[in-house]
């Protein structure tokens, strides 16, 4: 282990020295962001290597308009809102789910729990707050398929599911072309397969290396990226070999594509990205909360002064935001990057000086 650590550190330092200029690597995934802090990885890197936190925390990229729709649904007397824990504190225009203090807001750990709530409360409509990337989308898909086959008509989802690769392309295409390479998410890549990053490598010539979440894996992932940059290469690679294959989990992907289809949807900070949000296919329309409650449009709006968008694009570090640590803290979050434990602002606040 110690040898692997030393070897990876040596590779990073010698590659960065060879390159000379500043290098910026974006870790796409929120779990990587936290892990980088938890393992103190920045303290091991050369001065000219900067890590940027990307748009890979599901809570953080969820648009405020989506939260407002959830809030409206939560204020009804005929609904139960089933949500993953870290969504309840994300503020919309009129506060957060937590601040509503309503007992129809239930924190669940899985879509199964959401479905169970629907069966237990046949007189209410359970709305599952379906956010997340390719990792959580299969679970939503299974729940919808189960609800359909079991005839659980009082269950529906509000899909905010998103796709990682189109967001990476959008970032490089229009927001931040100063990103030199991507440290690609471990869990998402288990589903997607590492070949999914081909467009980023081929079209934008940026190295894409998949890593797991242990400190050593992240360090070795960074070493592979730095070595590629120093050699002028841009390739797909992985240091998460045990879990990630080039083609991914075909079963999970089939479940996703049987149930969902890509559409244009708003990402916080990145705006509307073509084909990067997932909606339920027409055959499952009755399980779509938008259809069920006749919601025509999800508004897009961002809170004043909040720089989460800039931060998610790697254009700004959290401490550079005027609200950071003053008006915006984990106790009183303004933007979603401060709410989720995986959010860049929360991680900087928790582990920074």
């Amino acid at each position: 282990m110690l040898e692997r650590i030393e070897q990876a550190k040596k590779t990073v330092h010698s590659a960065c020295e060879k390159v000379g200029r500043p290098i910026q690597i974006m870790e796409v995934c929120g779990t990587h962001t936290v892990s980088i802090f938890r393992h103190g990885i920045r303290t091991l890197l050369p001065d000219n290597l900067k890590l940027l936190s990307g748009p890979g925390c599901p809570v953080c990229v969820t648009d405020q308009g989506y939260i407002d729709v959830v809030m409206d649904l939560a204020r009804r007397d005929d609904t139960i809102i089933a949500t993953y824990g870290d969504m309840i504190r994300v503020p919309g225009k009129g506060g957060s789910l937590e601040s509503l203090h309503r007992d129809n807001v239930k924190v669940v750990l899985s879509t199964d729990d959401g479905l169970a709530l629907a069966k237990k409360h046949p007189d209410k409509t359970v709305v599952f707050v379906a956010v997340g990337f390719e990792t959580t989308t299969p679970a939503s898909a299974v729940a919808v398929a189960d609800a359909a086959s079991e005839g659980v008509e009082n269950f529906c989802i509000l899909s905010g599911h998103k796709l990682v690769v189109p967001a990476m392309q959008a970032l490089l295409g229009s927001k931040n072309d100063k990103i030199d390479a991507f440290l690609c998410p471990g869990h998402v890549s288990v589903i997607l397969g590492s070949d999914a990053y081909k467009p980023v490598v081929e079209e934008f010539k940026r190295p894409c290396v998949v890593a797991g979440f242990e400190g050593i894996q992240i360090l070795e992932g960074l070493a592979k990226i730095c070595a590629q940059i120093a050699a002028g290469r841009a390739e797909i690679d992985s240091v998460y070999g045990a879990a990630v294959t080039p083609e991914g989990n075909k079963v999970a992907w089939k479940i996703i594509t049987d149930t969902f289809e890509p559409c244009n949807g708003a990402w916080r900070g990145l705006g509307v990205i073509p084909g990067a949000t997932m909606r339920l296919k027409d055959k499952y329309k009755q399980f779509d909360a938008l259809h069920r409650f006749g919601i025509k449009e999800v508004p897009t709006e961002e809170p004043a002064g909040c720089q989460c968008g800039q931060i998610l694009c790697g254009l700004m570090d959290p401490p550079q935001c005027g609200l950071f640590g003053e008006k915006c803290t984990p106790d009183t979050p303004v933007g979603p990057c401060m709410v989720s434990t995986e959010g860049a602002c929360s991680a900087w606040y928790k582990y920074g000086k």
Binding site: I5, T31, V34, F37, R38, H39, G40, I41, R42, T43, L44, P58, V59, Y84, G85, D86, M87, I88, R89, V107, L109, D113, V131, G132, F133, T135, T136, H187, G215, I216, L219, T329, P330, D331, S340, T341, E342, K350, Y351, G352, K353
Partner: protein, 340 residues
């Protein structure tokens, strides 16, 4: 009748029903009733110049969890507050707030647990109180215990005695209680079920002071809510020192670590109920660990870090497994299970 199997408001009404509850169910549990004086105040012999006095309230859900229950917790919590202050626990009070409708069998089980725990910790329950509130006004049972203990000779514990170079010890694995409660609440199941570390620490604290000499022990604390992170940040701020922890030295249970990783929690922030953190003169650290490891509650005892000089503002730092450094902050409130 069914009603007699459950707590009714009249059980707290000061009449015959309440008298029966106290005389038949509560008093006989404690020292065959000998130590309980049914007067307004208990009179106790205190074999010391200085006594320590503390109080704590217990509102845990679920009432019964793997490794303990609210009754055991209510004795251990107060005994531990005395123990880490350098006192030998002498006597506890026991106040019960019962919710109307509580099953008598549940109360019986909790009282038995209180009695067993107190007996094992060699402390008497000498006085108490019982109230009953309407259904919905409490969550089954709330318990308050207060305790007095005799301060051990030659023991002088305070933040001001902590010095750079001192060693930081803990008697075992971190976060077991908090993760057990959370996994039971969240319905997480593991092949090896998580078990709370809920235990009375009096023997360990006495052992430490007796083996190392009271003067070599600078400070002790039971890191409950907020975990080790909260306690060590208090040490850093109150003593004006830096704390340096070594991640590879932190004792953790593998299953507990897995549960924490799944939910996105840091075990340094999670509650313990059977752990003592001690800051001691580094010269006695190995001796202390050796002594603790001979006790069932100290099998995984370890030196987890040291006290250092503070540069400007005192802080707690962790040297990570891969040799990086990071800051450990005071946790700031409710932790939320993450999405993925």
């Amino acid at each position: 009748m069914d009603e007699q199997k459950k707590i009714m408001l009249a059980h707290g009404g000061g009449g015959r029903l309440m008298g029966d509850l106290i005389a038949r169910m509560i008093v006989p549990k404690f020292g065959d009733g000998q130590s309980v004086q049914l007067t307004d105040s208990a009179v106790i012999d205190v074999p010391a110049d200085k006594i320590c006095f503390t109080t704590d309230s217990f509102v845990v859900q679920p009432l019964f969890f793997n490794g303990g229950d609210i009754g055991k917790l209510s004795v251990c919590g107060t005994v531990n507050d005395l123990a880490v202050a350098g006192a030998k626990p002498i006597a506890l009070s026991l106040s019960l707030i019962l919710e109307e409708g509580l099953e008598m069998a549940v109360l019986e089980k909790i009282l038995q647990s209180i009695a067993d725990t107190a007996k094992a910790a060699n402390v008497d329950i000498v006085t108490g109180d019982t109230k009953v509130v309407e259904a919905g006004s409490a969550d089954g049972v709330f318990i308050n215990t207060s305790g007095v203990g005799a301060l051990m000779d030659d023991v002088d514990l305070s933040f001001t005695r902590i010095k750079p170079g001192d060693a930081i010890l803990v008697n075992g694995t971190l976060g077991d209680h908090g993760m057990t409660i959370m996994s039971q609440r969240e319905g997480l199941k593991f092949d090896t079920p998580l078990k709370s570390d809920c235990a009375c620490l009096g023997e360990l604290t006495q052992m430490l002071c007796e083996n190392c000499g009271g003067g070599a022990v600078r400070f002790m604390r039971d890191p409950t809510r907020g975990g080790l992170a909260a306690t060590l940040n208090e040490v850093a701020k109150s003593s004006g020192v830096n704390v340096e922890l070594t991640e590879t030295a932190l004792p953790v249970d593998k299953t507990v670590q897995t549960a924490a990783d799944m939910l996105g929690f840091d075990l340094l922030n999670i509650a313990n109920e059977g752990k003592v953190l001690a800051v001691v003169d580094a010269a006695v650290a190995n001796k202390a660990i050796e002594a603790w490891r001979s006790h069932p509650l100290g099998e995984n005892a370890a030196v987890i870090g040291h006290i250092m000089d503070a540069d400007d503002s005192p802080l707690v730092e962790l040297i990570t497994k891969i040799g990086g450094r990071r800051i450990v902050q005071t946790p700031y409130g409710r932790e939320l299970p993450r999405i993925c």
